[in-house]
Structure formats: C-alpha cells, structure tokens
Amino acid sequence: MLKILKYSFYDLMRSRWSYVYFMFYLLLGFVLLFLNNDVDKAVITLMNIIIVLTPLIGTIFGVMYYYNSKEFTELLLAQPINRSKIFMGQYLGISISLTLSLVLGLGIPFVLYGLFQSAAIFNFSLLLVVGAFLNFIFVALSYNIALSTENKIKGFGYAILMWLFLAVIYDGIFLIFLVLFNSYPLDKFSLAATMFNPIDLSRILILLKLDISALLGYTGAVFKQFFGTNFGLFIALGLLTIWIILPVLRMNLKVKKKDF
C-alpha cells in the first residue's frame, strides 16, 4: 500500500493543479495578512474560505483522479497486490498531497508574518487540522461516488451535488427548520443537525474556539457549553474521524465487489 501511496503522491505532486492549489493558498495567505494586518482576523477570514473551498477541491480532485487513473488502476489490479490496498493507497496519496498543499500554502505566509510570536497559533493550527480533516472526508466521499458511478460526467455531477448539498443546501434546510419551529426549543436539534454535516461541524468548532461565539445568541451559548470545552473539542474531532472512517469502510466494501 505504501508503494501505491508513494506513486500516487508523486504523480499528484507533479501535476500542475497541485501547484495551482498551493499557489492559491500561498497568495491567499499573503493577501489576507497584508489586508488585515492582524493574524487573528486573517484566521477568521481564512476559516470562511477553507470551510467551503477544501471540501470542493477535495471532491473535485478525488473524482478527477479516480476517472483519470482508471486504466492505470487496471494495470495495478493485474499485479499481485490486494485490491483494497490499491485504492487505499490512492486515497491516502490524494488526501495527503492536498493536505500538504494546504498546510504549506497557508503555513509559509503565516510563519513569515510571525505566527510563532502570536497568540493565534493554536487557532491557526486548529484551522489547518480541520482543513486536513475536510480533505480526508471529502476525498473519501468523492471516491465513493466515483466507484459507484461508471459514467464520468454523472460521477462528476453527483460529486458536485454532494458538495453543494453539504456546503450550501444543508444550511438552507437547517435555517428553514429553525424559522418554522422557532417557538420550540431547538438547541438539541441544532446540535444534532450540526453533527450530520462535516462542514457545519468544522465551522462551529472553529467559530467557538475563536471567541466570537457571543454573536451566536442563546443557541450559541448551548453550543459554547458543548463544543467550547475540551470534551466538546474531542467529541467534534471524534465525529470528524467517524466521517472519515465510514466512507473509507464503504469504499473498501465496494472495491471488493466491483468489476473493472
């Protein structure tokens, strides 16, 4: 598996898109720091971007890599290697290279700006950790979609729909519920609903750590009580881990039965 991982990783590290992605984050980091002139504020702006963008890029890269390397995967399948190792290797290769682009692209400007002297280092690391989680989650989800969809265009469509649903539509439905049922106590409901969406989960997790939760009102207080503590932090990270494990398990099951 490590060998496959290594080659997938090299392959991606050399592709133009990895550099574009890396350069984008690099530029973003510098521009944000230049405009805000404050690490803390830059982290908040960055959160809004990371939370939407990493899932999108993870989804697109996952689907694209699967369909583009289809024939090569077939070559690998004819080698004496266990099937699930091939796909796990590819999956980890994509996720790790994307995470590297993220960490290096944002890390470099922030470190140059003096991140290590700033109090924001914990928040910034949390941001990167969440970004990494989102990468692993969305690559896994998109790999699942690609494995189950023979048609490239359909696969792409489903993957983008999945992203759109989790990043935008889910929140919309969530809001409609909050408005419709606003005469009922909704804190438990909203807490639970957050957990079923990795993007929301990440957003809440970062928001609460950034000490701007006062803006969130009463429900925010419930959230703060829950996620603001270390216990809540671990629960949230645990949930994000489950969000990785479940799609990966399903991927392995699917791979065992699939015809190539």
């Binding site: 392959d11 050399r14 024939e71 080698q79 004496p80 015809d259 190539f260």
Partner: protein, 235 residues
C-alpha cells in the same frame, strides 16, 4: 494449468458468460477469438480477478483465483488500452512496476529491443499511442511468469515493433510458457497461434488447432472460416 468451471457473468441484464467451461493446458499459444462483445475480455478479466464472476470457479495452477491476489505474481498481463499516469516518466513507471513485484526482470533488454532508450525520461503523458503500447509490452514481458495474457497486443504498433513482438512471443513459447492472446487480426492468429478458442454468446463454440478449424469450416482461408463461424450464428 487453467480451468474455467461453469463460469457465469452478467452485467445487469446482459449475459456475457453463460456457463463457460474451458481447460487450457500448460505450454503453447492460445488465441481467444470471437465477435465483438462475445466476452473475450470479460473472460480474461475474470482470470485476472478484475471482474468477479456471478457463479463458477477458475482454477489456476491447482488453486482457485477467486478473492485471491498472490497468484498474479506468476502471471503477466497486457491490457487493451495503454494509459498511464501522465506525470510519471517511462523509467519511473517501469521501476514502479518492478518495485511492486518481487521478481527479477529483463527490462533493459526489452527497452533496447523496442528502441525506448531515448524515451525513458519522457513523461508518459507526452508519448504517442504506439510508444505507449511499446511501454505496455515491456511491462507485460519483463517478468518471467508461466502465464502471459495479451489483450489486443498489436494495437498501434509499427511493423518493426510488430516483428519484435512476434519474436518475443515465440521466444516465450519456446520456454514452455502459456500465452493467451485476444485479437481481431487473423493473419496474426494464423502466424502465432497453436490453438484457437472461439467464444460465442458466452460459451466456447470451438476449441482446436487452426487446421482443424479450417477443415471443419471447409475453408482454406482462416479469416473466411472465422467469418463463416460468426455468420452461422447470425443466421
């Protein structure tokens, strides 16, 4: 050496293999023929473990291949479409495949033979279709395995490469290897194949030597004999 036992495979409603039985003995060149969509590639992919049959069993060297992977170390495969990661160079790809198989290889010799020396550092994405096929052939022949499976090996090859390919096939045969080939080029079959396996509607329709087939169809031209065989089914 290989035994397909009552093999069934369906893709949705489409029945591709329908209770296929076939035994292939060790040594020699076997051409798997059949009209488009007769299940040639599916049969090969079942053997390779890429397609999982609905029913039946495949025995390779006295062991079942279903849900196994280690047996593939004694098997070389040339896929129909050569498409590699575009960002790797030829050398890296060859090194990678070597790295994946715990076996000695004679890649240098083959690289020399197919004139790939100058292309070794080129990215695979920049190669022409024929050159890719040559790389594909090097990958398929560089290991010393008892079974070699070639799916449309002549695709896109220039005449010199084709001559080299035939030479290699003959050389491997003389070492006592078993070689399975699928192709639509009958002159190629006539030249290299010892035995023909003719697939139709997911079953073995004919198995025997080229001469036996010609005799049975009463036709001296293999191309026409095969065409007759197919036409019979259409009628």
């Amino acid at each position: 050496m290989i035994e397909f036992k009552n093999l069934h495979k369906r893709f949705g409603k489409l029945v591709v293999l329908d209770g296929l039985n076939l035994e292939i003995k060790k040594g020699g060149i076997f051409a798997i023929l059949g009209p488009n969509g007769s299940g040639k590639t599916t049969l090969i992919k079942c053997l390779l473990g890429m397609v999982i049959p609905n029913k039946g069993d495949i025995i390779f060297e006295k062991k079942t291949v279903l849900r196994q992977w280690a047996y593939r170390n004694n098997l070389n495969y040339l896929p129909q479409i050569a498409n590699f990661p575009p960002n790797l160079s030829v050398m890296e790809l060859i090194e990678m495949v070597k790295n994946l198989r715990p076996k000695t290889s004679n890649s240098e010799e083959l690289i020399e033979l197919f004139g790939l020396k100058t292309s070794l550092d080129k990215k695979l994405g920049n190669l022409s279709g024929g050159t890719k096929q040559k790389v594909n052939i090097v990958l398929a022949f560089m290991f010393d395995s008892d079974l070699i499976v070639l799916d449309e090996p002549t695709n896109g090859l220039d005449p010199i490469a084709l001559i080299h390919l035939k030479e290699i096939i003959q050389k491997e045969k003389s070492k006592g290897k078993t070689i399975l080939i699928t192709t639509h080029i009958m002159s190629f079959v006539e030249e290299v194949a010892d035995e023909i396996v003719f697939l139709l509607d997911g079953k073995i329709y004919f198995k025997g030597t080229v001469d036996a087939l010609k005799k049975q169809m009463n036709n001296e031209n293999l191309e026409h004999a095969i065409a007759n065989l197919i036409a019979k089914q259409y009628a």
